[in-house]
Amino acid sequence: MAEPSTWVPHIESFVDASRTSSQHDASLEAIATLVKKDIVSLLEVVREMEMYLTTTDNVIRSRGTLLLGEILVRISHKTLDHTAIDSLSDFFISRLADWVALRGTLTGCHAILCRKKEVGSISKSDVQKFSKVFFEEVDVRSLAANDRKLCYELLICVCTVHKEVATIQGEDLVYDILRSIDDEMDPTCLMLAFQLLQSAMSLFPVLSDMAYQDAFDILSKYFPVYFTHGDASNDATREELSDILLNIFCSSPKFEPHIIPFLLEKLSTSFSLAKLDSLKYLRKCISCYGPDRMADHAEDLWRSLETVIFNKEEDRITKEALECFETAVSVLITPNRDTFFGLICQKIDSLLNRIAPEKQAELHALGSIFAIISRVSDSLCTRVFRKYFARLVNSLVESIKGSLNSEALYLVSEILSSCRGLIQRSPDSTEVISEKVSWLNILRNYSGDLSAALLKLVNAITSLKEESLVVKQENVLCAVKCLEVLATFPEGCSPITDETYDLILKSLALIISEMDRSTLLWKSTLEGLIQIGSVAENSIDRRRSLVYTALVVENLLSAFINSTLPLDLSLEALYGIGMVGKHRMEQVLQVVEEIIVVKILKVCLEGEFVHADTLISLLQFYSGRIISWLSDAGDVSEVAMQFALHIWNQMENKNILKNIHVMGILDALMMTMKHLVSVSTINHQSVILQKSHEIILKSVSCPTEWFATAFQNPELLMSSPSSSVEDLNLISLFASVITAVSAQTPLPASNPNSSSNFVSNLFLFFFLRGHMPAAQALASTINKNPTDNKAIESCLSILSEDKTENKQFFKKDIITGFAWIGKGLVMRGDDRSKEIIQFLLKLAISSQHGLDAALSAADGFHIIMGDSDGCLNKKFHAVIKPLYKQRLYSTLVPVLLKSMKEANSKEVVCRAFGHVISDAPLTAVIGEAHKILLAVAHSIITLSMDIQNKDVVYSLLLVLSGILMDSTGKESIIENLHIVIGVLTQLVSYPHLMLVRETAIQCITSMSTLPHSKIYPVKPQVLKAVTRALDDKRRAVRQEAVRCRQAWSRGKN
């Protein structure tokens, strides 16, 4: 045991109100630790504190009580014996009457009440005594917010931890609690108050009616929950409060007589939040209270909902009202209760008699009502069919002869899509089918007439002959939708005959091939056909699937082959149809492949260059969409390999090879080849590699021995005759294969005895001659084959040797090629990348080989840091070390920052810096915002002189705006405010790119929210610059400028 003299000063320090709060905290923790570690016993502490706990000085007594309470909170896991607990609880309960020291008393009571049984808890009789004294002595409503919060927490503890004691007190407890929470306005306290009431009410299964009445009176004041001072700083959000209030109301059906009339009344106010919340509450209450209790309100409920649904309201209110209506329909309409349905029917009847085309809003509301009733249950759907469907169909059929009844058409379409949904939801629909008067049977009876009328309508728009019927597009749209629904019922319950099905497909296919493609009708018809196709595909009955193939798929394919449709649309249609199922897509794939080969022959052999564009779109469609869809759907390897081999077979023809590079075909073909290879399995990749390798060996004209020694002998490289076009084309295509193979696929060797260096030597040779695809392929091989050190060493040896006299190596293509190789190494996390990085840095900083070389080196960093679609990415199986960009970023930035001052050409270094910063992950950049911000500003200014750099300026500006959006970034911006504003105001009149001006102004606008004391000095400068932008050439910039000026001139001044 410690000497009192060592710890009593802590007590004195805590009780002394003149000390700072951190001193108070420190002494409290010190004593609590001593007690926890049993160095001082609690009894001793209390004994020492006696004077502070009983003195008549209010301040000291309240500090003393608080100290004891806080100590108890901190030792809640320490075991205390019964005597201690009993005397402590006696003490605190007796102190509840002492309002001056109430904070400490409440803290102490809370700590004691919350104690677990294992560590010694308060006795039942004491809990009872506590709650009696508490409600007698403490007037919760008169306390400060923090104390009220404590009280609520205390009471929640009583109602949850000491349930049995709380229950003994009966209804009085609820009344006492209601009295305490009345008029609570603080959101955080209110949240606790609601929780308290919820847990208190859950203790009693049934309370007297009066109790619910009183609870409702107090709670209804809070509806709808809204904050008068915004909800930014509150712990409890509006939604949370609103939800818990709703839960209390739903907890007992006995609230029903009070809450429902109240909500209906609130629904008729003009306050949209009240409307929205009433609808939400109504929906939940209806389903909680059930049909018996809600029956009396049916009429009032319908009247209120009717007003909301049929009057034009905000979209979200209408949506909520319809959801509420759906719940009401499903709960209130039961076999023996019909009032609600009767009311709805009355409204429908009155509307059907006088609905007119100009009342669109009413018509849509009616459509939604029909849709909802028919989708709730089979029996309701049947009632709708019996009562209205025949009438609507008849008037539609009648009107086809004269002027179309478009309202009936719309309503029929709504009902049809609802009932299809009904049957799709319950696959076991035998009941519906067997029942004689079910809606399905009624639909079957009328489907003949209905579909005949709809088909007539649809055909009228495609045929020119029948001019008697003038139709509007929106009506046809509706008719197409109806036909789609009729054709997409699951098999076994299809309401239409097979003949009708065929007719529907024919008509819709006709729209696809004949109609104007830009219209909505065309697109939705295509969607309809896709839907029909997917249902036909999944059904066991093959007939419909076969008909679909014959009437739709083959029709479209032949339209595609004969190019009667514009290419982009027929591709879109084919893709849509293909998505129905795997074998459909393969059907499409086959046709597209054939056409691609035909077009290649046409362009390259017959010189019909007009087909080049088509060919390129086909290749893009093939590789970008069909192959990727199929590879998502399953195994595509075999198909891909076959087509890749097919392409390589074509390459054996010298004439094709000679012309394949015209008009960008080779690029598209290379991309396709990469995709084909990347989706193939390793075995299939090997087959493709083998084939292409054979062709390379056979067809490349320059001797293969050159490849092995090329890099050692630059003179030979220079003096040898330049490669033929065929060679280059072939190498490009081979490069695309190598780029996309996975790391595990073995590379071919020139003969079985030599090592596997053939491929890298070949590419090295062509790379040093400035052939870019070869460089990329080489980079890929280096990235994927870490064991193949020879290729890397060969590359690096070129850099290490003193070849400065040889201008050959400082051409743009070669430098860029080295950047690619560097990227391959960096991505793998190989240390040897350093040499290439240093080479590029030296070139960029010293500019000793001319400005062009320096610029190429600077752009090399864009290649290394950036992402590429063409090679070295995840899709083409590159080996990627996590966070390689961050690593490189943190090595490069210090070097670039240092050299920015000393470089010969500052512009080049800034450009390199710009690439590194804008390609690095934004979070990494923001983390170092304070270090780089000035350099970014400096770079923007340096680069904005030259139009060539506009992209880099834009990327840097985006980085700057990223920093501006981040909270830590903002601090650095504030520190360098004058410089940043200087840069941005200069960019406001940047002449080369509108996006830069627009973004700069947006940045300035968002800076208007920075602390006013900081931005005040730069305000004149900003307003002057932005006023100039009001006269900008481009409208978007002018509008931004107006917004910016407003933001800055409306700031606090």
Partner: protein, 169 residues
């Protein structure tokens, strides 16, 4: 004492659909193939109308457009000469709010367009009893400046310009 409204029951018109300009070029994040191929966006009457249509009436919670005080046709713009001319029609002949509306228009245009434009604001002929006096007052620089020095008037103008709580019907 509370004054009665000058026009207690104005006719409210539908707001016209806001047309997005079809010729707005899409935003290219990266270099446009022909960076100089965009023709300049010339300032036109619709630009001016877009900036003033939502100004709130000093008396009612409706916009000037809804009350038909303004329309696109009542605005003429000559970019070469640097002139903007707006003619507005007060809702009633004896509307004393006409000057406030005019003042709002002037302040808004000053904020939205470069200072070299000369702005003429007039009430449409025959729509107001003291038409000439109002026209003269609205186009007098000194008097406009003096009016904006008046804190009450300034507050009224600001409320009309920045009130975003227009009722939407």
């Amino acid at each position: 004492m509370t004054l009665g409204l000058i026009n207690a029951n104005p006719v409210v018109h539908e707001r016209r659909e806001r047309l997005s300009r079809a010729d707005d070029p899409p935003h290219y994040p990266y270099p446009h193939p022909h960076p100089h191929s965009h023709p300049d966006d010339v300032l036109d009457a619709l630009d001016v109308f877009d900036s003033v249509r939502d100004i709130r009436d000093p008396e009612h919670p409706y916009s000037l457009e809804q009350l038909s005080v303004l329309s696109e046709e009542s605005i003429t713009v000559d970019e070469k000469l640097g002139r903007i001319q707006i003619t507005f029609t007060p809702t009633v002949q004896h509307c004393s709010m006409a000057t406030v509306i005019g003042l709002c228009l002037r302040v808004k245009l000053m904020q939205c367009f470069p200072p070299h434009f000369k702005v003429d604001i007039k009430v449409s002929p025959g729509s107001l009893a003291n038409e000439e006096a109002v026209n003269k007052q609205l186009n007098d620089k000194e008097r406009v400046a003096a009016a904006l020095e008046n804190p009450n008037l300034r507050q009224l103008v600001d409320e009309c310009l920045y009130s975003s709580e227009l009722y939407s019907y």
